[in-house]
Amino acid sequence: MASAPDDKKETFEKEALPYLDTVYRVALRLSGDSTQADDLTQETMFKAYRAWHQYKQGTNVRAWLLTILRHTFINEYRREKQRGPTVDVAEFEQFTVFHDIQEVDPAGRFFDQIVDDEVIRAIDQLPPEFRECLVLSDIADLSYAEIADIMKVPVGTVKSRLFRARQALQRVLYDYAVEAGYIKRSVR
């Protein structure tokens, strides 16, 4: 029969460790710094292991780990580093770039020419509260309710921030694709 510490190790390895890469990706986008992301990931997994007895079996372990990550980031890391300039989300038109490109590339194939680093750079330009929603949804695959719970905001706020974050990201990537010559800017 496995002893209690062995059981803890076994369940943690089986249930929490598979999300190490997700924790790292979210840490990287929240901090914008690979050294901080390393430290944040290590600290999150360490705290999670120590508090493993508090995790309710059968609930979403990914959301639980990311809650620990976010607390750690806000309390210990957020003020340490000045990030680069962010885009003004309010400045962007609140609708899809589809209407700009429907004549030339309705399937949006130009996106496929954009490399990973450029997408990451565009995500990092979003203001923190918008970036956080997008990262928790599109990198960590959490539901709106789980994101609302982690960020302590109403579900409606998550919905609205996520929508605006994605539209701003789309517009930034479209502008980049135009500048890079992947697509011609249409005149509306």
Binding site: Y19, L20, T41, F95, P106, A107, I120, I139
Partner: protein, 87 residues
Amino acid sequence: MTSEPRVIDCQEAARRLHELIDGELTPEVEGAVQRHLEDCAPCMAVYEFEEAFLRFVKLKAKGQTAPGDLKKRILGSLGLTSNSDNT
């Protein structure tokens, strides 16, 4: 007596597209948006574009994995031995 199925316009469909893609709509609203898309080619085109865009963002943003030495350090500090996967 059954009530009439809900009908929505293009404006509401556009507002609901991301929620539809994210699987966040109630069955009633999801049905209404899907019925609208089936009957409205312009909205369907926007839906397909948005779905492709979100698929693209998720794919690109999930490319990074935790460095191997970080994984080893974490496993070592916790006294664990197994390898984590790529999520």
